[in-house]
């Protein structure tokens, strides 16, 4: 228990400390890490904790960003109101599309989410008069003190930290445990009286909420929104981060997002074949280390601990028993 608090407070202080010391470029990278972490959480909640493989998180990411940017730029609505509109629109969209998607399971669900995200992309892309189509919306400057990158970093940090605590509470609540139960065996959880459809719909809406929130943070961060944010390759980024860190690990999304943003910043610098590398990394992780990076570390720590406690005995848990 003490161990956990130590890690949490260390991480919190670490992120706060980063905001004080970093220069502009690194601050930019750190902010992006935080926003992407939120996006990865939205994928992890569905895949790692509920067992729903979603390729559709980008849809809510884009809807959140557009829901924020459109009233802000077109009708000059105040910042907090736009924030709220963005959230509500992504939640509503997740509700409507989720109602259809979560009726299905496994492969059907995955396909339906691809369809949803591609249609969202098409709606944004084709509705030229309203969304600006291919041009997107440019020049979204955050108002007042938020235009300072340091303050913007703390603003993002506060929201992401709050969202992370919510995420932590959810996956440890009775609701989160029943999600896990659904992941392990849907039919049995139906037998013990869990309303599978309603639980999965709720998880889907919460994931949509997280994705929308990260979209809202992302729009003023890059100053632009483009329809490509809702493309299924953009969902692929969430998938990549979630899988890389380990989708069912608590810190997985954070590690995945940090590694992703660093790779994105550096690999893209010296080669243009960035997608090839993404593909190869996903490949390796899925085939050889199912727990992701965090899973690898925890199973290593556990083995080390067991070795220290008993030199000769090898328990099934110590074998990275999955």
């Amino acid at each position: 228990m003490r161990h956990k608090w130590l890690v949490t407070s260390f991480l919190g202080l670490f992120w706060i400390f980063l905001g004080l010391v970093l220069g502009d470029f690194w601050l930019h990278v750190a902010t992006e890490c935080l926003i992407m972490m939120l996006f990865a959480i939205s994928f992890s909640l569905l895949y790692g904790h509920t067992g729903l493989l979603s390729f559709g998180q980008a849809a809510y990411f884009a809807v959140g960003a557009y829901g924020f940017a459109l009233p802000f730029m077109r009708f000059s609505v105040p910042f907090p109101v736009c924030f709220f509109i963005g959230l509500v629109s992504s939640i509503l969209w997740a509700w409507i599309t989720g109602y259809i998607c979560v009726r299905l399971a496994g492969i059907y669900f995955a396909i339906m989410t691809v369809v949803v995200t591609q249609s969202t992309f098409y709606i944004i892309f084709q509705w030229y008069g309203f969304t600006g189509g291919d041009d997107g919306i440019q020049g979204i400057f955050p108002p007042g003190f938020l235009s300072n990158p340091h303050w913007y970093y703390y603003y993002v940090l506060a929201i992401v930290a709050a969202a992370f605590i919510i995420y932590y509470k959810i996956i440890n609540s009775p609701f989160g445990l029943s999600l896990k139960c659904i992941r392990e065996n849907m039919v049995r959880s139906q037998f013990v009286g869990v309303n599978v459809h309603r639980h999965r719909l709720r998880a889907f809406i919460i994931a949509g909420f997280f994705a929308g929130l990260s979209g809202i943070l992302f729009a003023p961060f890059t100053r632009t929104v483009v329809p490509q944010m809702g493309n299924w390759t953009s969902s692929g980024h969430a998938v990549f981060m979630g899988i890389l860190g380990g989708a069912s690990q608590l810190l997985g999304p954070m590690v995945g997002a940090v590694v992703w943003v660093f790779l994105d910043a550096f690999v893209a610098g010296f080669t243009e074949h960035w997608p090839l590398i993404i593909g190869l990394v996903i490949f390796t992780i899925v085939l050889f280390m199912p727990g992701g990076l965090v899973g690898l570390v925890t199973s290593y720590l556990r083995t080390a601990k067991d070795k220290r406690h008993s030199e000769t005995w090898v328990t099934p848990e110590s074998e990275g028993f999955k």
């Binding site: 399971a105 496994g106 492969i107 339906m112 691809v114 593909g279 996903i282 085939l287």
Partner: protein, 281 residues
């Protein structure tokens, strides 16, 4: 014409999913690669008389060989794994294959020189039909009939239909199921190749061609019922019609209409038009 294209692309997916139980997300990338390969052969052979038809056969052969390699290297490790992992791996393949295409052929759109017989326009009772459309229709019908005959009449077809229902029993009877899977994968890629070749006659070869078909073909698959061959044919017909009429009247909404159709069908019949309810989970 649109229906035939949908059918060619989707039938391969459905076939693989039905018999083997794996959904290949990179199917569309393979379809795109087929177009590029056709372009390469056609431009290599452009000084000869039947360059397009030669390219047709050569690229079909090349793609079958490529399918063989992919099956041996990647797909065969996947069959025993969970659905989620299969999806993720084939999704990673989308990234890899798309980038390889960009690396080899560049990102500018390419055109295949069509043989004169395919650029003609046939007139029949005041209705003008482009020959390329007829070519696509014939290709769709022929491959549909061919696959159907193969499934219903030959030994391989009967075994694969058995594998669709009882995998364990088939391998228990001493049939090397790995070979069946290999054959099915190659066949599914072959169907995608036909679609890719047909596409070179219809339009330009570019990096976006796979992504623009993706949403429509997944909808076709879901509407028809996953793993149901006849269902795919039926829903390809419906979706193709919907698309063609929509493009006349409301061109911007054409793709969305198909999505809407899929949504409605899924609410009423979650297992699709001709699918089986038992296979839902």
């Amino acid at each position: 014409m649109r229906s035939a294209l949908y059918f060619l692309v989707t039938s391969g997916l459905t076939l693989l999913f039905g018999v083997v139980g794996t959904l290949n997300m990179s199917h569309f990338s393979l379809y795109m690669i087929a177009s590029y390969v056709t372009w390469s052969f056609a431009s290599l052979l452009r000084n000869y008389q039947f360059s397009f038809w030669a390219a047709f056969f050569l690229s079909a052969l090349t793609m079958c060989f490529l399918a063989f390699i992919i099956e041996r290297l990647v797909m065969r490790r996947l069959y025993k794994r969970e659905l989620g992992e299969q999806l993720l791996i084939t999704f990673a393949m989308v990234y890899i294959l798309d980038d390889l295409v960009k690396m080899i052929w560049g990102s500018s759109p390419l055109f295949v020189t069509r043989p004169p017989i395919l650029t003609a326009i046939a007139t029949w009772r005041n209705v003008n039909l482009p020959a390329s459309g007829i070519f696509l229709l014939i290709l769709g019908l022929a491959s549909g009939l061919g696959t159907w005959l193969m499934l219903s009449k030959t030994r391989l077809g009967r075994i694969s239909r058995a594998a669709y229902s009882y995998k364990e029993m088939v391998s228990a009877l001493g049939i090397p199921i790995q070979h069946i899977y290999l054959a099915m994968f190659i066949l599914s890629v072959f169907l995608a190749t036909l679609a890719g070749i047909a596409w070179t006659v219809m339009g330009m070869v570019d990096l976006g061609q796979a992504h623009s078909l993706l949403i429509e073909c997944f909808c076709v698959m879901v509407i028809g019922g996953m793993g149901s061959f006849a269902g795919t044919a039926l829903s390809a017909l419906i979706c193709g019609m919907t698309y063609s009429f929509a493009i006349l009247f409301v061109p911007k909404l054409a793709t969305l209409l198909i999505f809407l159709l899929a949504g409605i069908i899924l609410v009423i019949r979650p297992w699709g038009l001709l699918g089986r309810a038992g296979r839902l989970h």
